[in-house]
């Protein structure tokens, strides 16, 4: 694992007390704070409906598509306040969001998807260079170039989505549940790829249900629940945390506290896994 950035270096992304409203009435985030270090990797965990995807959308400027808005708080990217930037400007500033639900452009080929991902590149030569780079990094995609992306397997689609994001040359990649519905081997491949990108200097903010995989790669993590951060720490701290172990890593909590915790956990389990 590459060395985390020194503590005093300013983070690449800093989300500060973020509140998000949908349709002017639904408060989905109630003051979220989180950071991603330069060339760092941050994992965002939490149960369904916690607000993980909403956090990513707020950062990438995708809220307006769903009638959502940042009602208070700040988002700093590379030292600039980016709260008011729309998705188009965010992509241009180097933040790319791979949204949840494997949104391939289904009727287009793999290569067409990639070219669309690189539509902001200044010249055709640059697009070609990007394609070469993607095919080199993800050799499987080279063999699938001319295939209609809608017919790829889930894992192939996920690889393509990461390749498509690479075409935009992001400094920060926001990726929402890349492991969803994939077999363990494929999850490993995806995270190895993400690790490779990170080693090349890309910063990552990963939303995941698969804490094992996410905390394996991340240097820092946050657990979101009900629109608030309920737990945060380094990946090592989180991996050692009992709640995380029990709810995300499938370990048994040990010892005589078992009984007392069971009641509390049962309640939380329902919420976390709900």
């Amino acid at each position: 694992m590459s060395a985390p950035a020194p503590q005093d270096a300013p983070p690449l992304l800093a989300v500060d007390n973020l509140e998000v409203l949908y349709s002017r009435v639904i408060l989905a985030l109630k003051g979220v704070n989180l950071q991603v270090a330069k060339s760092g990797c941050t994992a965002l965990l939490g149960p369904n409906g916690a607000g993980k995807s909403t956090t990513l959308k707020a950062i990438s400027g995708m809220l307006s598509v769903e009638d959502g808005e940042v009602s208070s708080g700040g988002i700093q990217f590379a030292g600039d306040s980016v709260v008011d930037r729309d998705a188009q400007r965010m992509v241009a500033s180097g933040v790319v969001h791979v949204v949840e639900g494997r949104k391939v452009l289904r009727h287009m080929t793999v290569e067409q998807n990639l070219v669309v991902g690189g539509h902001l590149r200044p010249s055709l030569t640059e697009v070609r260079r990007g394609l070469d780079q993607v095919y080199q990094t993800i050799p499987r995609l080279a063999a699938l170039r001319t295939r209609t992306s809608g017919y790829l397997s889930g894992g192939e689609q996920q690889l393509m989505l990461i390749g498509r994001a690479m075409m935009a040359n992001p400094r920060l990649l926001l990726i929402d549940e890349p492991s969803l519905g994939l077999a363990p081997m494929m999850i490993e491949e995806i995270f190895a790829l993400l690790g490779h990108l990170r080693a090349k200097g890309m910063s990552l903010l990963i939303v995941e249900q698969n804490a094992q995989a996410a905390l394996g790669l991340a240097d820092h993590g946050y657990v979101l629940e009900g629109g608030r951060v309920v737990l945060e720490g380094t990946a090592t701290q989180l991996k050692a945390n009992e709640d995380i172990q029990e709810f995300y890593l499938g370990h048994q909590a040990g010892g005589e506290r078992r009984n007392y915790r069971e009641i509390k956990h049962y309640r939380r389990r329902k919420r976390w896994l709900g």
Binding site: A87, Q88, V99, L105, R106, H107, V115, H119
Partner: protein
């Protein structure tokens, strides 16, 4: 036999003009999922503009036509800005209702500005037919078919092979994903309306060449709807084939069935076709079928 060939070939050429009109329709549909019922009215605006420029302002055709195209781009831009950009986030249904409103609005504007009387549309293309053996071909329609072919090929190339075009295809496929990739979706929609209006004007020049022009001239564009549906609403490459099918059948019905019925069965042919397609194969010949992987 010779008659049959004559009818079939003329039907084929007519079908290509339908395909041309449908092209404008498809370009708008792809970008905004709006089924633009006012495509014929866009053609009408273009036609009257050409008429004013060439017969009113006495510009030579080589000047009048490009100026009319620029005007058409402006109409497309204005219509999108005035109506559709305000409806962003509203249902597609309400946008389609707006296009029906546009039908009435544009016809009204045309009546106010140019009046209800028939106008003689200028013959900007040669009116002498080309005669090959015993087949008589109207020159303007031949040129029209050529233009349809050229435009189809260039648009197909643009949407499938160029970066800017692929970005627009992404908008057609999934606007939300396109936004997440940093594509300017609103600009894409504006561009589509500009292009749609311009293509409608090209259609006017070919179809109305040397004929009379009035508000009802817009009706011909209705025949382009079935062509677009038959091709599959997203398909650009399929339009020429779909146009050929609709045009040839219409022409043959006009030649052999209309006289027997003493009516114009031919004019309803495209619409019978449309109902048939909608029932049997709603995605047309080449449209985007829903790809569902489970």
């Amino acid at each position: 036999m010779m008659d049959f060939l004559n009818y079939a070939i003329n039907g084929l050429l007519l079908g290509q003009v339908y395909a041309l009109l449908a092209l404008g329709f498809v370009v708008i549909y792809r970008a905004s999922k709006v089924f633009n019922f006012a495509q014929g009215e866009l053609m009408l605006l273009g036609a009257y503009t050409v008429w004013s420029l060439s017969l009113g302002a006495n510009l030579p055709p080589w000047l009048a036509i490009p100026v009319a195209f620029v005007a058409a781009l402006a109409y497309g831009w204005l219509i999108e800005r005035l109506f559709f950009s305000r409806l962003v986030g509203e249902s597609v249904f309400s946008m389609v209702m707006v296009t029906i409103g546009l039908v009435i609005l544009i016809r009204g504007v045309v009546l106010v500005i140019w009046g209800a009387a028939d106008r003689q549309f200028p013959a900007l293309l040669p009116t002498m037919p080309v005669i090959v053996g015993e087949v008589i071909l109207p020159t303007s329609m031949l040129i029209g078919a050529g233009i349809t072919l050229a435009l189809t090929l260039s648009l197909w190339y643009f949407f499938n092979r160029t970066r800017a075009g692929l970005a627009l295809t992404a908008v057609a496929e999934d606007p939300c994903t396109a936004i997440s990739l940093g594509i300017a979706v609103k600009r894409a929609v504006t561009l589509a309306w500009m292009l749609g209006a311009c293509i409608a004007t090209i259609g006017a020049v070919i179809l109305l060449n040397g004929r009379s022009l009035n508000v009802l001239s817009a009706d011909v564009a209705l025949a382009a709807l079935p062509v677009a549906l038959l091709a599959g609403l997203e398909s650009i490459g399929g339009l020429m084939l779909a146009g050929a099918i609709v045009g040839i059948i219409q022409s043959l019905v006009a030649a052999y069935i209309d006289p027997k019925l003493g009516g114009s069965a031919s004019s309803i042919v495209p619409f019978v076709f449309m109902l048939f397609i909608l029932v049997v194969r709603p995605t047309g010949l080449f449209g985007w079928r829903n790809i569902e992987r489970v």
